[in-house]
Symmetry: C2
Subunit: 234 residues, 2 copies
């Protein structure tokens, strides 16, 4: 019997690698979608390619989108510094400057277009609300609202061919739970990349929100992070 | 007092030109967003530029997006023919091959990103359900669901800075009503372009769904369409 198809958003980070492993474990033929969006570095997309190969994605497409045209984020605008050593690492009351306006909305919209062409109805996204650093588009309310919209937006849904599901399997997990789950499913976290601001050799800074959440997750999981970090200043 | 900002999706067609004129009449400072998306011709985006200039948009951004990468539509895939002289011009029971998967979902997502950066809360889109040729993402249910999602997706909404509104002012109008409204507001329809399949001189075919809806609209409005058409075969 032919496998059901799923679109999986794969960024090259730890969360999306784990999400891809979960989708594959559920038996889907996985079509991976990766975005190049004016990041300061392409290291993350190289990581995405390695992750897709290692976890048996049927196909990976890389779509270049120009989010930097609109600015507004430290991740797409080189004039805004990536913050380091922030006090409020946990569930922030304010949304950090690394937030990219409408990023997941745009990513899911491309995924929806591809899903419709492929005849896929399951869209996997590795958003996480526990360690979410204050991003509004990483919450369950957003995911549910997107799913409702998708089922009114598309020919396949309107014609009754199926119902789209936005799947966010790690949304309620802690970073440690994500790492334990992925490790059990065979994810090689050495292939992933999380740092917002790596050095010229590609070593992670260890101080941005993304590095600190990752390091804390490995520590809580009782595991060692296999990626290379810049040694701390004396 | 500073004007409120609005994002207006401007394609170069008749509907979006009228929508821009309505937004301007309502007093907004209009920021126009146009997409290049693997169309067979760039005539429509040239028309968009002329329309934005003539109707006083504060700024126009043109974003190139690669919808052709996914295929699935006669408007983005050169292997699928644009249908001519279809019987079922009116509210179709089947969705035509000129439907582009998730197009308006993607367009609105970019508009939302720009709105968030600019501090705009009104997004105007010239969708129309009366003459909609069977596109699911031109219906009021879709617009309402998108608005609900947008207000959960963004930092500005979550922080209580404002509530996004997806404005579709011509959604219930007939083509004749749209043309009469635009004419009253000073839209020069000679600057617009609607044809899916113009000839090498840029003349409209007169036979695709888009041309036929346009021509019927002008006829019902008792006006003459100022654009050039290919003469009919003998």
């Amino acid at each position: 019997m032919e496998k059901n198809k799923a679109i999986v958003l794969v960024s090259g980070g730890l969360d999306s690698a784990t999400t891809l492993a979960i989708a594959r474990r559920e038996g889907y033929a996985c079509y991976a979608l990766t975005f190049l969006y004016g990041q300061r570095h392409r290291r993350e997309t190289d990581a995405a390619r390695r992750v897709c190969e290692s976890l048996g994605a049927v196909e990976q497409r890389v779509v270049e989108i120009d989010l930097a045209a609109f600015g507004g984020s430290a991740l797409t605008d080189s004039r805004i510094d990536v913050p380091k050593d922030r006090d409020s690492l946990d569930r922030a009351t304010d949304i950090p400057v690394t937030y990219v306006p409408a990023r997941n909305t745009i990513f899911l919209s491309y995924a929806l277009a591809w899903a419709e062409v492929l005849g896929a109805f399951d869209l996997f996204i590795g958003v996480n609300s526990t360690d979410y650093s204050g991003y509004p588009d990483c919450r369950a309310e957003f995911v549910a609202a997107y799913e409702a919209m998708a089922n009114l937006a598309t020919a396949a849904a309107v014609e009754g061919k199926g119902r789209y599901r936005i799947r966010a399997p790690i949304i309620e997990m802690t970073k440690a739970q994500i790492i334990r789950t992925g490790t059990r499913l065979g994810v090689d976290y050495a292939l992933t990349h999380s740092c917002y601001d790596p050095d010229a050799q590609g070593r992670s800074c260890g101080r941005c929100d993304s590095c600190r959440l990752r390091l804390r997750g490995f520590a809580e999981a009782g595991l060692t992070d296999p990626v290379a970090y810049v040694p701390p200043d004396r």
